[in-house]
Subunit: 183 residues, 2 copies
């Protein structure tokens, strides 16, 4: 699916974005955006898996994984055009459609479709962020793991166990015990 | 300032919103939105101070204060149209301009200005949320209090000390000691 198809589906329309996107291939283990860099793009992930994470005192902390059909960006950095405090890393070979900041912001001046897209994408990111924050406050690792199984089975299937553990903020051994106790 | 004036200033345009808003007065201590209720509106605060908070095991937790010229809503509830987990409470007499969900969503179908407004408002809320989350992880109460003095002096001036303490997540006595040590 292309970004334009994705947007038309999301908005139930048949319009066309007023700018061109570029499709880029990244090899597995590529860093798309590094910590300290200013995020210049939003990426529509056509194929592959991208990990988003940050540095913490206890080593890297994984914030999220994105799959085919997801929009990905260091969005705070993209909006503010200040240095990113997260990285985007390719867990597999990836194909992404790149939406550059300058083109999107030019389109925002006059294009209804671009603003509808920007609004809905930001609303979705906002909701995701709030839900995650709430889960971190109210649910333990077991509950959060059970929700992954239920709502994001592709994550359980495709991501190595030690990375899921880092995402949940627990030791890999604790996650192994959890998996045994569940099965 | 009206919401339309605010939007035109924000977007550097002289357009007009394609829907009417209603101006409502709330007396001090009114609850605009309560926990468990579905948020039906976005409010543009023309006059007064609104407190946003949630229930926690240790009593009410204050999330934010809004002042004249701010947009206020239980925004997660507004977007999802599910029950709110925060309340909106008038610390003073308030005058608000009400933007109802149904009218805004109808306008989103066709109005560039409405989408620009919705996008920018959501971007601002997203950034605010991320910054707060980051501050909570990286700064102690003293640093956060010093930032309030610097960036939000109106809060220090207008909000009772015990409420600022609850916002910072510390005991009022600790805040008093902090204030003494700073002055």
């Amino acid at each position: 699916m292309t970004l334009n198809e994705y947007i038309c589906k999301m908005l139930n329309t048949d319009g066309s974005l007023p700018f061109r996107t570029v499709t880029v291939e990244y090899a597995k283990k590529s860093v798309i955006t590094s910590i300290g860099q200013v995020e210049r793009n939003i990426y529509f992930l056509q194929q592959g898996i991208i990990e988003i994470g940050m540095e913490a005192e206890t080593g890297n902390k994984i914030i999220d994984f994105s799959f085919s059909g997801d929009l990905v960006s260091s969005y705070t950095s993209f909006l503010s055009q200040e240095a990113s405090d997260v990285y985007l890393y390719c867990l597999t070979d990836c194909i992404v459609e790149v939406v550059p900041y300058a083109q999107l912001h030019e389109a925002y001046q006059t294009s209804l479709l671009s603003n509808q897209f920007g609004r809905l994408a930001t609303e979705a990111l906002y909701m995701k962020r709030v839900r995650k924050e709430k889960d971190a406050l109210t649910k333990n690792a077991e509950q959060r793991y059970l929700e992954l199984i239920k709502y994001r089975p592709e994550m359980i299937k495709e991501i190595p166990v030690h990375r899921i553990a880092r995402y949940l903020g627990i030791h890999p051994e604790s996650l192994s015990r959890l998996r045994k106790s569940i099965s």
